[in-house]
Amino acid sequence: MRIAEVIGTVTLSRCHPMLAGYRWIIGVPYSLKALKTKTAPDGEDFVILDELGAGNGHQIGVSEGGEAVMPFYPERKPLDAYCACILDAIEVK
């Protein structure tokens, strides 16, 4: 589960029927250097399915791969990034 910062949202005009009606946000993952120096995240941005209502600037935990579909168990969705938590605070030495 990587840490990402929300920078925007995406609205889909046409999509796979199993993905209809969800909220999509764009997240940029943090590298260790960005976390330690408290600078802006510097990874490659990607689209995440969000059910928790994460707004712009929030730091979120993004579940990726097979585990991103698990919250919809037993239903299977074509999905590989899911917002699992909205982080209140991050402490990095």
């Binding site: 840490i3 260790l32 698990m70």
Partner: protein, 86 residues
């Protein structure tokens, strides 16, 4: 399974219900010669790994779900061992 070092921790109030009560640590996966390998990962922990602890993290989703006793948890990485210091 991969070697990692704990670099911090995180707290989250709004999260997937299966994650309530679990400690959330930030672990930086390491290569065998102790160099950072990829981006830091949020891992759940019930072994009490402290800051700067070298741990063994595992990304077996099925194992995590068994550990968390949940069928639909999005968590993947968990601390499965704390390495003794050399």
């Amino acid at each position: 399974m991969q070697l990692a070092i704990i670099v911090g921790h995180a707290t989250a109030t709004v999260k997937h219900p299966s994650m309530t009560g679990w400690k959330l640590l930030i672990a930086q996966p390491l290569t065998m010669d102790e160099k950072p390998d990829g981006e830091p990962q949020l891992v759940i922990d019930n072994l009490g790994a402290g800051l700067d602890a070298r741990v063994l993290i595992c990304n077996d989703g099925a194992g995590t779900r068994k550990l968390m006793d949940s069928k639909n948890s999005p968590v993947r990485w968990f601390v499965m061992g704390i390495c003794d210091d050399r």
